[in-house]
Amino acid sequence: MEKLLEVEHLTKVFTLGSLLSRIRIRAVDDVSFYIRPAEIFTLAGESGCGKTTIARIILGFEEPTAGTITYSGKRDAKNKKVWFTEGIQAIFQDPFGTFNPLRMVERYFFETIRNYRLARNQEEAIRLIDEKLKAVGLSYEEVSCKYPSEFSGGQLQRISIARALLTDPKLLVADEPVSMVDASLRMSVVNLFKKLKEEMGVSVLYITHDLATAYYVSDRIAIMFRGNIVEMGPVEKVLIRPLHPYTRLLRESIPEADPRQRWDKKITLTETEYQEYLRVGCKFAGRCPDVMEICRKEMPGYVEVDGVLVRCYKYFPS
């Protein structure tokens, strides 16, 4: 089985506070997963679960505390620039923040081309830009000489993808790409991922807290909770029949766009993020309806149930 990107035992510890009093938080705690070529892989979870940190480590904006990342068989290349030219690009959460509001959007296209020497002259550059913009449903004319404020969020996010496509990447890291795009325009971005995967064989690491689009777009999904992947497997299995109690809670909390299916069960909110991060044992033990004695003592390992990896004592053969 070919792996485009493999993340193994990735750990990131953040030290908060000053020299004298440190709080160490394992924002990413021994995370392993892989992405195949032409696959959309989703990392899902609530804000602060560590998914963005993983993306930043993959992109080289952050140094991991431990663990390795292998891309196309190359492990931990030091020169991040090589990675990018060879094919990891990213799009970000805030379409309005992706581009400097004081600069014309096209400047980023030309800079990417110049920095990676993707074209020999101006016409060739424009042709390349136009080609990539066409791939996301726009054209160079629509984009040239305009500032970010002149586009809608959906457009900007597509432009951002087009810029990322300039280097013909194999992997697109998309960190919450639609959470700040209007619901009515979201699908235009998400559908693009599908198209890129199918037509250009691009893999996407789709990072989101929106399980509905995750279900819609991705092949496999990993659910993260407080730095750990608690459940990982094909998206149909994980989201339709969640195994981990946390996945279940998430799944239930998503409001269905159907007035006939309203919530009936009440939920309670208790612990804070920090407390959960610092918890020994299963981080979800504090809220888990099925909590057992052992959950509070030790973090469970992975167990495979029907092609899905899950970290819960419930599924351990007792």
Binding site: G17, S18, S21
Partner: protein
């Protein structure tokens, strides 16, 4: 505990380092000047007509060097300085030999502290209050008039402003005395008449410092309030029908004061410069005139004493303000 570690200790470390740097700078700078305190002293004695026989000047120089403690290398003098400082001793004044610097500073200090403390507090409180109101009611006519007045008064040089006040209220309308800190011949005492006399003498200097200082607070506060006014919690409280008095005091001014507390510390140094000029104009017996004389006479020890004292005093004041700051801003307290 957390608070101590994360808030208090870094600030204390910074404080100590700053004082150390300041003292070192103050030690070095006057030694770089060509002013020779001994030549100065001799010239002073000579030019004031005392008889110094030309033949005996050399011996006199040696005597003075010993008395002033100016022997040894710069490093020796520097180490000596720290030793003395830890004993709380700034040495003797050269020019006002053999008076101790600490005594001179001690004599001038109550005047300057009294003047500065009250004017700083008054101008800070009044400037912020009026500025806060003017910022909140920035469309009102009186607010705009005040704004304009502040804009015109603020750039007036301290000297011109103070001297104009002196002219107006000391000469044209003879309400206040021209010079000094208290009436000639009066003996310091805790009697009402003495205190009233001191207040009468302090009025004009205090007024000029308060007005010029207050306009700065007024202007910055007005700007800050206009920004705070646009904050959502203020808009929300307004939409919630919260009484205007509560909004102004508890929501707008209280939040807008936070940066002003920090600014107060930073402004202390500035205020000192204004006080120097004001003290000269009003012949006020404070540190400013003392420093000015020390500067003119190249009295290292006295300059050093006053400056080190000011550095310690002002940085301590800033440190105290910094440490008090969490009382006003709970976000810092519980971080």
């Amino acid at each position: 505990m957390n608070f101590v570690k994360r808030y208090l200790i870094p600030r204390l470390v910074q404080y100590i380092l700053v004082v150390f740097l300041g003292v070192t700078a103050v030690f070095l700078i006057p030694r770089l000047t060509p002013t020779d305190p001994i030549a100065h002293t001799i010239a002073q004695i000579r030019s004031q007509g005392a008889y110094l026989d030309p033949a005996t000047v050399d011996e006199f120089i040696q005597d003075l060097k010993e008395l002033y403690g100016l022997e040894g290398s710069i490093l020796d003098q520097y180490i000596g300085l720290w030793k003395r400082l830890f004993r709380g001793d700034f040495g003797v004044s050269f020019f006002q030999f053999p008076t101790r610097v600490s005594e001179l500073v001690g004599r001038a200090l109550p005047w300057t502290v009294g003047l500065l403390l009250t004017t700083t507090v008054i101008s800070w409180v009044a400037g912020n209050l009026v500025g806060g109101l003017a910022g909140y009611f920035s469309r009102k006519r009186w607010a705009q008039a005040l704004d304009f007045a502040a804009m015109v008064i603020r750039p007036l040089p301290y000297y011109i402003f103070s001297f104009t006040l002196l002219l107006l209220f000391g000469y044209v309308i003879r309400l206040f005395p021209i010079a000094g800190g208290a009436a000639i011949g009066s003996v310091p005492s805790f009697t009402w008449s003495y205190i009233a006399d001191v207040l009468r003498h302090a009025f004009l200097p205090a007024l000029s410092l308060t007005i010029l200082g207050g306009t700065i607070w007024f202007q910055t506060m007005k700007l800050i309030v206009q920004n705070v006014n646009a904050e959502s919690f203020v808009q929300y409280a307004k939409l919630g029908g919260v009484k205007e008095g509560i909004i102004v005091s508890k929501y707008v001014i209280r939040n807008a004061m936070l940066p002003q507390i920090t600014a107060l510390g930073l402004a202390l140094g500035q205020i000192f410069s204004g006080a120097l000029i004001t003290e000269i104009v009003f012949s006020y017996p404070g540190l400013g005139t003392l420093l000015y004389n020390a500067v003119i006479t190249g009295d290292y020890n006295l300059i050093m004493g006053i400056t080190i004292f000011s550095i310690v005093a002002i940085t301590t004041a800033i440190l105290l303000l910094d440490l008090l700051y969490p009382l006003f801003d709970p976000r810092v307290r519980y971080r």
